[in-house]
Amino acid sequence: MFNYVIRRLLLMIPTFLGATLLVFIILQMAPGGPLEKTIQQIQMGSSQGGGEGGATSNGSSGAGTLLPKRALKELERFYGFDKPIWQRYLIWLGVWKREIKHRNLAFKIGDIEVKKNMGKRRYAYVRKNGAKLEVYDKEGNISKLWTARFDMDISDEEITNFDELKNNGELSDISKLEATIYETEYSGVLTGNLGKSYTYQQPVIEVMKPRFKVSILLGLSGWLIAYLVCIPLGIKKALSHGSTFDLISSAVVFMAYSIPGWAFGGVLLVLFGGGSFWDVFPLGGLHSPQEIWVNLSFFEKVLDQLHHVILPIIAWTIGSFATLTVLMKNSLLDNLSQDYIRTAFAKGLSEKRVIWVHAVRNSVIPIASGIGYIIATIIAGSYFIEMIFNINGFGKMGFQAILDRDYPITMGFLVIAVIIRLIANLLSDLALAAVDPRIRFK
């Protein structure tokens, strides 16, 4: 058993890498990414400002952009697009050096060494050696902290012989050699750093935390209610198979299956949200507006929150209602026609005991294996319900991130979702082994 779990955990690693790599590539190769979006915004801004900015920025990179080359490069660096895609993925993972705290410096004609103030009274001495740059600290040792490189579009040979070429009157459009000095560190998913959100200007983890709590709260309560309703209902339906109660409740189950939870939430909202019908429940959000919320007593806060979450939780429950009920019913029916039930009856056990101790216990097995699935849907299922009820949850955040091209959040969402799914799959297998003694993993 222990070995099995270890093996499953190890197998998760390539799966995780494969899944994230796939989406990473799609995102990075996509046209219209955050870089292009920002460039567009800057251009819109400058064209509204009278087009003056466009005229002065000579040396713009012919691709229709009005940005100076230098700014474009810095933007590219900010979004990480200055590296090949495999390096970007490794950096994102945290197994390749990430460049941080960039500073610009320049070598004029004749410069061999440039002293750069790195803040906090620290100085770096950058020395030109051919087309490479070496960084020394105050004592004259090679710096472990900083690295530097040229940031030019000319060949290495031209950089090496820059002074000569310049004296010969060549390279007239370049006045100095521009370079970047930066620190490096290993920081990525594996070190717990999911990056910084472009839109919220906050670390991704900080953005996700409160939203994740909201989704979990909603998901768990929806899940609990679904189980509390569906298991007894399924049992009752199986025991009275073919009766009027069974037929009527079957009709309800079919209807619930034919309407997704979020669409049902929409119906509830139109009916009870105070549009054209009754004004019973609020239109969305998790609690009343902040100015009312802060003045409420604890008890009122609880009531207010309940008032807000009732509709979303109903919608959430409807989503898994049909499947769970039918699963429970069929599983119990299956068990009731088994031989061991016949044996139990033949032994003279009471009907109550046969059903509740023998049959029901075995019928919960398939439901137990659904636990992983349910955990996974806490993320996916919350998606639409959060949209409809305007709840700032995890799913809505992920969706908004796609719209905003906020890649750190998108990838962060994906990482969490993938990890949850992987663990959920393992959990459902383990749950299955826990309730069904016939299943043994090796």
Binding site: T15, F254, L269, G274, L336, R342, I402, V418, R421
Partner: protein, 355 residues
């Protein structure tokens, strides 16, 4: 002498008879099939173009041009002596010709799903009335017309999607189970990766990059969705392969192709067939969800999800919430009934109860 051989009833015939005996599923099947076939000729029932026009002794059939693909659908207003720029407005023509020799017959419901406020007398957010049975939407388009066209698109989408998924899933899954080895291992890893991804999220990412057309959306969704059936078929083939009849066929020297297609495939299809209607339900739901989020078919394609989105962003316009949800609800309910009947017919379970 009586040479007639009494043939026993074939299994499929039995299943069909059983399916027919389950009234709920059978009538749903007839209803949905009829509605879908009718919906292929929707331009003849719900259209702003006239069915027949008789103008100064000549006959025209404008509505039929939309059913026949190679005929131009454009009819200029001047052709019928109408003094408006651009295409003819047949509803106005009908009014103005009341006392003349010219006449025309409009379809049952004389609005099409694309004409908005820019066209003519249409207004935004009209509640249901005798002219617009289900009201109009945020750009003045008739909701009923859009709903009906969306029915056709939804079913077609789900149907094509399911068929593609089945073809890919069955062939790859079957090959995995039958041949095993490296091929099997490779796809198993792939499936694992796929099943750990939040697929709808991935589809949304992709369609936020490329605004997909009908075919492209089907392609994208097939790419992420084919994998599940694969896993199922693999298990099924794996199990069947170890059975005696397959060993017998192999020892008789049958080719792989023959064993796969003639022996194993028919035996492993039943669960897949009974799952078919539910797969269609899934396809319709996906389209509605994607359209609702704005990542489905490109506008102005009529779609339930898009109407629902408009309705839910204007909560007082209840007709735009109820109509798509009801349409979707009844369609799905019928398909679920079909699925239930099919399951009964193909995979009957008789529960015995001891008391």
């Amino acid at each position: 002498m009586n040479n007639q051989i009494i043939k026993s009833e074939s299994i499929n015939h039995k299943r069909w008879r059983k399916f027919k005996s389950l009234k709920r599923g059978y009538y749903s099947f007839i209803l949905i099939t009829t509605l879908y076939i009718l919906s292929l000729f929707l331009p003849l029932f719900i259209n702003s173009k006239a069915l027949v026009v008789q103008y100064e002794g000549e006959y025209y059939f404008p509505a039929f041009s939309e059913v026949i693909p190679w005929v131009s659908t454009y009819y200029d207003g001047e052709l019928f002596g109408q003094d408006i720029p651009g295409a003819a407005n047949f509803r106005l023509l009908q009014k103005s010709w009341e006392d003349s020799d010219n006449w025309l017959i409009m379809p049952l419901y004389p609005y099409n799903p694309f004409e908005d406020i820019t066209n003519n007398e249409n207004r935004m957010y009209e509640p249901p009335s005798s002219t617009h049975w289900l009201g109009t939407d945020n750009t003045g388009r008739d909701v009923l017309a859009r709903m009906c066209y969306a029915f056709n698109i939804s079913i077609s989408f789900a149907f094509i999607l399911t068929i593609l998924n089945y073809i890919i899933g069955i062939s790859i899954g079957g090959a995995m189970g039958y041949f095993g080895g490296k091929f099997d291992l490779f796809f198993q890893r792939l499936i694992e990766v796929w099943s750990s991804l939040p697929l709808l999220f991935v589809v949304i990412i992709i369609s936020s990059i490329i605004k997909p057309s009908f075919t492209l959306l089907i392609f994208i969704y097939t790419m992420v969705n084919w994998i599940f059936l694969t896993y199922y078929m693999r298990a099924e083939f794996y199990r069947e392969k170890s059975k005696d009849y397959v060993s017998a066929a192999i020892s008789m020297g049958q080719s792989h192709t023959k064993i796969i297609f003639k022996h194993i495939l028919p035996n492993s299809l039943i669960p897949v067939i009974t799952y078919f209607p539910f797969s269609i339900v899934g396809g319709i739901l996906v389209l509605v969800s994607l359209d609702f989020l704005g990542f489905g078919l490109a506008p102005p394609t009529p779609s339930w999800g898009q109407i629902l989105y408009v309705g839910l962003s204007n909560i007082t316009k209840w007709w735009m919430v109820f109509s798509p949800i009801m349409a979707q609800f009844f369609t799905l309910l019928c398909i679920v009934f079909i699925g239930e009947g099919l399951r009964e017919a193909f995979d009957p379970k008789i529960y015995s109860r001891l008391r």
